[in-house]
Structures are given as C-alpha cells and as structure tokens.
C-alpha cells in the first residue's frame, strides 16, 4: 500500500512537472527548485485529497484531509500569504479538523461498509465530476500571464499589517458581521448538541 502510494506520487509528480512544462511553457532545462517544490506539493496534496474520499475509515479520511490542509498552508507560504497560512493551520488543522476527529471518536464510528454509494451512482458521479473538471480546465487555460517573481511583490505583501489594514477598512462591515455569525454558530451548536431533535 505504501508502495502504491509512492508509485502514484511519482506518477503525479511527473504529471505535474509535465504540466509545468506544457502549461507554463517552460523549457525542460530551466525547470528549477521552485517548480519541483510545487510539483511535489501538488502531487502530495492530490494524493492526500484522494485519501479523503477513498479511505474506508472516517478517521483516516480526516487525517488525510489534515495533511491536505497542512500542505495547502505550505503552498500559501510559497505564495507570500504567511498570515493566511498560519491561520489555515490554526483554524483548520488546529480547530476544525480536531472537531471532526472528536465527533468521529464520540460517535465511535468505525469503517462503514459499504463506504460508498451504489456502483452505478458512483460511476455517474465520477462522470459528472470529470465533465465538470474538463469544463473548468477549459476556462482556466486562457492565458493569465505568469505570477510575478518572488522579488516583484510589494514589500510587506501578505503580512499581518496589510491584511489587517484591508480587513479594518474596506471589509470592516463584513468583519463585524462575521463576528455575529460566529456567535450565532456557537449558540446554534450548543442548542443543537444539547437537546434531542424532535
């Protein structure tokens, strides 16, 4: 199983590097560390994401999701979104996913057989998914220009100051509303978890 994973990983890396070459129009020779890192991260993420939906045991699904989120955070860092990356780990990995694990343990769910819906439905879903993906890609392929190089970003881009500045000026209302939303969520969760549903 480990081997399978590794095999998939290598395959995917090749794939994504190919993607780099094909989409990015980058000569095979000029592939550098950055590309490789991206390819590695991407493939790992895809693997773990697959892990979420193929694992029979909910716990394992949850863990693969945690891995995905963690890698996503790393990718955020590579995109100069340090703060968001940290928040990603704290909020998602640190809070939300723990909550999931916690609930899974609380309900003491072991592997449920069958983990998936009927084969026919499964196939249909896969088909629709693929169609969707192709459609999406069809639109993503239009040229958007390369990302500005690491040096090109304005100083302090992605730092907490900038985010806060943005947050407390342009999106202040949204911010406040969010706080209310959280409050409501807390109350709702408590109420729901307290009493039996009628």
């Amino acid at each position: 199983m480990i081997l399978l994973g590794l095999g998939l990983l290598v395959m995917l890396m090749m794939l994504s590097l190919a993607g780099v070459v094909a989409v990015g129009g980058i000569a095979l020779a000029s592939i550098n560390l950055g590309h490789v890192v991206f390819a590695l991260l991407a493939s790992l993420m895809i693997l773990s994401a697959l892990g979420v939906i193929v694992n029979r045991s909910p716990i394992r699904s949850a863990l693969s999701l945690v891995v995905t989120l963690f890698l996503l955070a790393v990718m955020f860092v590579s995109l100069d979104a340090h703060l968001v990356a940290m928040l990603q780990i704290i909020v998602y990995a640190g809070a939300i996913m723990v909550l999931f694990l916690f609930v899974i343990m609380l309900l003491n769910l072991h592997e449920d057989r069958p983990a998936m819906v009927r084969v026919g439905v499964r196939g249909f879903a896969g088909l629709v998914g693929t169609l969707f993906f192709l459609g999406a890609v069809h639109f993503l392929m239009r040229p958007l220009g390369a990302l500005p190089a690491a040096g090109a970003v304005p100083p302090g881009f992605g730092t907490i100051e900038q985010l806060a500045e943005q947050l407390f000026t342009r999106s202040l209302l949204a911010f406040e509303v969010t706080s209310i939303l959280l409050l409501v969520a807390i109350v709702g969760a408590v109420v729901l978890a307290k009493r039996k549903l009628a």
């Binding site: 716990i59 394992r60 863990l63 928040l87 990995a93 640190g94 809070a95 916690f102 730092t159 907490i160």
Partner: protein, 365 residues
C-alpha cells in the same frame, strides 16, 4: 544560494539538537529532581566503569538503549499505520515549534548577518501557536489507534483539554502581542532589551504579569503535566493515550513530553523574560545605569546572550518539574471549569484592559 541553504540547514539542525538534548537533560533533571524532592537517590543503576555521572549515564544512555531494544508491541485490531504515526505526529510539531524561538541576537560574519533562530518569521508567534495546535493529533491518534478504551478515553480527554486551553493561551498571547505590537519573536526580544526609566529592564512580565500566569498555566496544561495530567493520569487510565505503547514509540511520547516542557519554558522566556537579553548588556558590552560600562567583544556578547537564554529556559523547566511534585492533580470537571470559567475570562479581561491601555497611552515601543 547554496550557502544560504547551508546556513538555514545548520540553524535548523542546531535547534533540533538543542530541543532533543534539552529533552534528554530534562529527563535526567526530572528523575534526579524527583528523587531529590522525595529524598531518594534516584537513577543510579547504570554506570560505565563505575562512572555513573550522577545518573547521567543512566538517563542519557541506558534508558534510551533499553527503549530502543524493547519489543514494539502492537495491540490486536489496532490501526497499524496510525499507531506508528501517532508518536511521530506527536513529537514533530513540538520540535518545529521551537524553530521560531530566537536563542540569540543576530551575528554578523563577513557581510552576512545570521539570525540565531531557525526560521525568522514575521508571524513567528502565530507559527508557534499553529504548531502547538497540531500537537493534539498525536494524542488523538495515539488514543484512537491503540483500539483500547483507556487509550481512547485518554485521547479524548487530552484533545478536549488541549483545545480548551489553547484558547486561553492564545488570548494571553494576544495581550502580550498587543503590548509589543509585533508578532516577530526576535523583534519582541529586542524590544525587551530597552530600559524603563533607564534602569528597569523592560521585560514582558513587567507589562503583563497576569498574562504570564495565564500563559504558564495554559502552557503546562498544553504539555499535559501535573496538575493537568489527566490524559495520562496513571491512577485512572494506566498511561492514558500511550498506554498501549512500548519501545521506541513510547520513548518518543516521553521525549515529546519533555520537549513540550522545553518549548513552554522557551516561550515563557521569550515572551516574558527578555529571551536572550541580559539586563544592561548591549551589543557591545555592559552599560550600567550609573554610566559605568564594560565593553566586550561581539562574539562573547552573543555567547553570553545564548547562555543567558539557555539558563532562563532551564530555570523554567525546573519550575515545571517542581510543580509536578508540589501540586495535586485536578479532577476533570475542575480542570475544565478552571480552563473555561477561570483562565478564559481572565485572559479576555486582561486582553481588553491591555487594548484600552495601548489605545490610551500606546505600547512601550
């Protein structure tokens, strides 16, 4: 490029080694300390050619060897992968958490300045929090994967406790962050180098005594040590979430425990006790309030500062170990009440107060 990578690797290695060795040493301190407190001799069995080195041999060589050579038992119908993963997941974040903690001022070699800090981050504080918040998984997994109700209970207790106390910890940190106005730990330490009225070192504890207490409590709770050690409370759940572990994995859990102690100590030092700062020691030597000065070579200064950092950290480790033999274990409901109804409101109030003051008079910067 290459050199940069090299330096980065070296810094990372330094940190890792520091943590691990600290963990080891703590193991020794703990055992000898306990012995001291309980009026025993403590770890004194193993010796090389009769040299027991006050139990150092025993704790730093014999015990690890023993653990390494022990059989690794896997309970029936346990989840092999997760069971193996758990200890690593447990140990990993603690070690990396240390990476953001500066253990010395920047040194300049040639035209290249090197931060004495594994990863200089402008969001260092958040980074540490993030890593600590990852610590839960080890516990949860350990508890779950062992397929044993005691472990599971320990795991659930542990996770609940950790997420509960993270909040209080976060809030107390928010207060100190407000005070210094930065999330960069190195920066914080630098700010703590200032003097209030020219004689009083501007350490965090002077600004945030309450935050310090809250942080200490929550930190100890995070590292699941007495009096918050219910997840592994041996009188109720044999060893909590690592009941079903043995051999190297067990050792890793143990290491984690000590590493966490070290991290907490490191954080307390960095946030509240001036990190590597020594009062009146500036980059070129001592400048006492009286005007008296004692100039020292830069390198020596840096070494002194690193030493100071280590000393402070060790002191706080010792404090936690003392606590272990001083305080009784809480009951679980007490623990939760203390966390939610005691520390959380306190931290909130402290945060609000700090916010008001900072708004009114501005921080110390």
């Amino acid at each position: 490029m290459g050199i940069e990578v090299g330096i980065a690797t070296i810094r990372a290695l330094v940190v890792i080694l520091m943590v691990l060795s600290l963990a080891g040493v703590l193991g020794w301190i703990e055992r000898k300390g306990s012995a001291l407190i309980q009026d025993r001799i403590g770890a004194n069995r193993a010796s090389i050619f009769g040299v027991a080195a006050a139990g150092l041999v025993n704790t730093l060589m014999a015990d690890p060897l023993k653990f390494l050579t022990k059989e690794d038992i896997l309970p029936v119908r346990a989840d092999r992968l997760l069971h193996t993963l758990a200890p690593c997941v447990n140990l990993f974040p603690v070690i990396v958490a240390f990476a953001a903690i500066p253990f010395g001022d920047a040194i300049t070699i040639g035209e290249r300045t090197i931060q004495l800090q594994a990863i200089p981050l402008n969001v260092g504080m958040l980074y540490v929090l993030a890593m600590l918040s990852l610590g839960v998984y080890g516990v949860v997994l350990g508890g779950w994967a062992s397929n044993d109700r005691l472990s599971l209970l320990g795991g659930i207790r542990g996770s609940a406790q950790m997420i509960s106390y993270e909040i209080g910890m976060g809030l107390s940190i928010v207060a100190i962050v407000m005070t210094f106005g930065t999330l960069d730990l190195q920066e914080m330490v630098r700010l703590q180098g200032h003097l209030i009225h020219g004689w009083l070192p501007a350490w965090g504890i002077l600004y945030q005594p309450l935050a310090f207490l809250i942080f200490l409590c929550t930190g100890i709770a995070e590292s699941k040590r007495v009096p918050f050690d219910l997840p592994e409370g041996e009188s109720e759940l044999v060893s909590g979430y690592f009941t079903e572990y043995s051999g190297i994995k067990y050792l890793m859990f143990f290491m984690t425990d000590f590493a966490e102690v070290a991290v907490v100590a490191g954080l307390v030092t960095t946030l509240f006790f001036g990190g590597w700062q020594i009062p009146y020691l500036l980059s070129d030597g001592f400048h006492f309030p009286g005007g008296a000065a004692l100039l020292l070579p830069r390198l020596l200064v840096v070494l002194l500062q690193v030493a100071a950092f280590m000393v402070k950290v060790l002191l706080f480790c010792w404090l936690q170990i003392l606590l272990r033999w001083t305080l009784p274990r809480l009951r679980y409901d007490q623990l939760m009440r203390f966390g939610w109804r005691g520390l959380l409101p306190l931290a909130l109030a402290n945060m609000l107060a700090t916010a008001t003051v900072v708004l009114a008079v501005g921080g110390p910067t």
